[in-house]
């Protein structure tokens, strides 16, 4: 069996934590197939990330070039395809982040490889489980062909543990053609001290019932008290109360924290698809008939105006 190659996204410090679940899914697949685990890092000035990736994989292929600074599908997908061939890989995995979702299918196209999106379990070399129909069905899928590409649902696999001492190999990057595409700017969301939604142990989400963006302040206070991340329903994002990157659901982020607190959220199918995997779900809503209560471990029928300040006070009391 060929190697299992994992696409590692990176920042200045190293491999992005979002990629660690893909590395552990890759390790699980490599164990099943008997292949080696390899990693690929792409970008400009990514030596630190490459060294970091070597803690998880036996071999790290590095495509470090000024022309690869922007994470464009047009320029990165060919590097991934090249890395698959160079590593003799029979599988290419990456996290189903916005970058992974953009680039991996294009790499699959260049490789002529079948692709499984958003896998939640590895069953065999080419068999996986994945959710479909907004999480209301679990598919067991089989991908044909000699190379398999898969994007990995971040919350379905644990972060990989460092421990390997892999070899870093810088690949001479050939001609790079962006096909007339260019990254103009990245308007990053205001950096906060909060953990990323996909990795937070606690997520506090607000819905349409919050009515206005300024009302989220009280949720932010609760979020910070619990050391969690702030989320929102599609309805709240669509109404412009909060930025869209807070959206939890089928079309937003998928989260699976230890504790998910849904505040003034009705529980539409597409929202449930993004948070049903949470360990403990708390629903706070003034309407006892909302569907959110059907998935909640603990339901409190109350308005957020009354419940959230009381909850903050009670948690403070607990923390002494």
């Amino acid at each position: 069996m060929g190697a299992v190659l994992v696409f590692c996204e990176s920042d200045d410090k190293g491999v992005r934590s979002a990629s660690l679940p893909a590395l552990s899914a890759g390790a699980a697949l490599a164990k099943l197939t008997g292949g080696d685990l390899a990693a690929v890092v792409i970008g400009k000035g990514v030596a630190a990330a490459a060294a970091d990736a070597a803690k998880y994989a036996k071999r790290v292929l590095v495509y470090d070039d000024a022309k690869l600074e922007a994470p464009l599908a047009e320029t990165w997908a060919p590097q991934l395809a090249d890395a698959v061939k160079r590593a003799g890989a029979s599988a290419l995995l990456g996290t189903a982040s916005s970058t992974g979702k953009d680039i991996l299918p294009r790499a699959a196209a260049l490789l002529g490889a079948g692709m499984a999106s958003d896998i939640t379990a590895v069953l065999a070399a080419n068999r996986f489980k994945r959710p479909a129909y907004a999480g209301n069905a679990i598919e067991e899928i089989e991908v044909g062909g000699s190379v398999v590409v898969a994007s990995v649902r971040q919350t379905a696999f644990p972060p990989a543990a460092a421990g390997a001492a892999g070899a870093v190999e810088n690949v001479a990057v050939g001609a790079v053609d962006a096909l007339g595409a260019e990254l103009v700017a990245l308007h990053a969301t205001q950096k906060s001290a909060r953990p990323d939604l996909g990795e937070a142990k606690v997520v506090v989400s607000g819905g349409r019932g919050m009515r206005e963006g300024k009302n989220f302040a009280v949720l932010e206070e609760l979020t910070d008290l619990l050391g969690g991340a702030l989320g929102a329903s599609r309805a709240a994002c669509d109404a412009g109360m909060v930025p869209n990157d807070l959206q939890v659901g089928q079309t937003g982020r998928v989260v699976a924290p230890q504790l998910y607190i849904a505040v003034a959220i009705s529980g539409a199918i597409q929202h449930l698809a993004g948070m049903k995997g949470s360990k403990v779900i708390v629903a706070i809503n003034k309407n006892p008939d909302e569907p959110i209560f059907q998935v909640a471990d603990y339901g409190l029928v109350d308005t957020w105006e009354k419940a959230i300040p009381a909850l903050i006070a009670e948690v403070n009391k607990l923390k002494g």
Binding site: A73, P105, G145, G299, L318
Partner: protein, 273 residues
């Protein structure tokens, strides 16, 4: 500007799925256009308009793959304002993203559009692959998960914003290109063709409803039937679903009477705070 827009029918996502023998029973499903594709149609139409109800320039061609029944969804798209439609006959339930991408590519080679607009994913399969595979196969630039799109006055490039995990990315692509749209694309001022619509042009914040006039006009518009053989495409899927199962159901828990009780339970019972 000629725009090809893909339109997939999906079972009504509000209906509960019926499982049996490892399959999903869709015999009694009610079908509708995939929401993201509806947004793609709206996007394509706006790119040919001077503003809401304004003059039009360019052509929007809707493409679907499936049995004859899909004519119903395509008529709806024609009633929204698309100029004509192509229906590639086939078993839509048996196709995977690769097969769809190959079929769309064959139609692109025949129709030679300047732009292909797709929904970012179908809400049944949730694969989110077709646009990216298509762009890869065509060797065209791609812009996925669009929140907004501005077509340059010369029609040679588009500047878009994309919803990404870290915020919003602004990207420029040369045409012809493949784009896939996300929810924000239906914002009042999210989409416009600079040569056609002024900066103050705006539309309703939703995909348009078909007007009575539109519905009447749609009856006279062409839905061209095309076979896979005519396109010369091998629609064999690369990926197959061996089995479907219902996800583990969460049991509804308990209702607590007070915030104090809630915190006590989260601390002592669930041990999460």
């Amino acid at each position: 500007m000629k725009i090809l827009v893909t339109c997939k029918r999906v079972p009504n996502p509000e209906h509960k799925l019926k499982f049996g023998g490892g399959k999903i029973d869709l015999a009694s499903a009610s079908w509708q256009l995939n929401t993201f594709d509806e947004y793609a149609v709206e996007t394509a139409l706006r790119l040919t308009e001077a503003g809401k109800g304004g003059a039009r320039s360019g052509e929007v061609v809707a493409l679907s793959i499936g049995p004859k029944d899909v004519q119903q969804q395509l008529r709806g798209v024609l009633a929204m304002g698309a100029d004509r439609a192509i229906l590639v006959g086939g078993d839509d339930g048996a196709l995977d993203a690769w097969a769809v991408a190959r079929i769309v590519k064959a139609v692109v080679e025949r129709e030679k559009p300047d732009l292909v607009v797709l929904g970012k994913q179908a809400v049944d399969g949730d694969s989110n692959q077709v646009g990216q595979i298509l762009a890869g196969l065509l060797g065209w630039p791609q812009a996925t998960f669009l929140a907004s799109m501005r077509l340059a006055a010369d029609g040679k490039s588009a500047t878009v914003t994309r919803e990404v995990d870290a915020g919003v990315e602004e990207k420029r692509v040369r045409l012809p290109a493949v784009v896939t749209v996300d929810l924000r694309i239906i914002g009042k001022k999210a989409v416009r063709a600079e040569g056609l619509a002024g900066a103050d042009a705006e539309w309703d914040e939703s995909p348009r409803y078909a007007s009575l006039k539109g519905i009447m006009a749609a009856k006279k518009k062409e839905i061209k039937d095309v076979t896979l053989a005519e396109l010369g495409v091998d629609a064999a899927p690369t990926m197959k679903v061996n089995a479907y199962e219902a996800p583990p159901q969460r049991q509804a828990g308990v209702k607590v009477a007070s915030v104090e009780e809630l915190v006590a339970k989260l601390h002592n019972e669930a041990k999460v705070i």
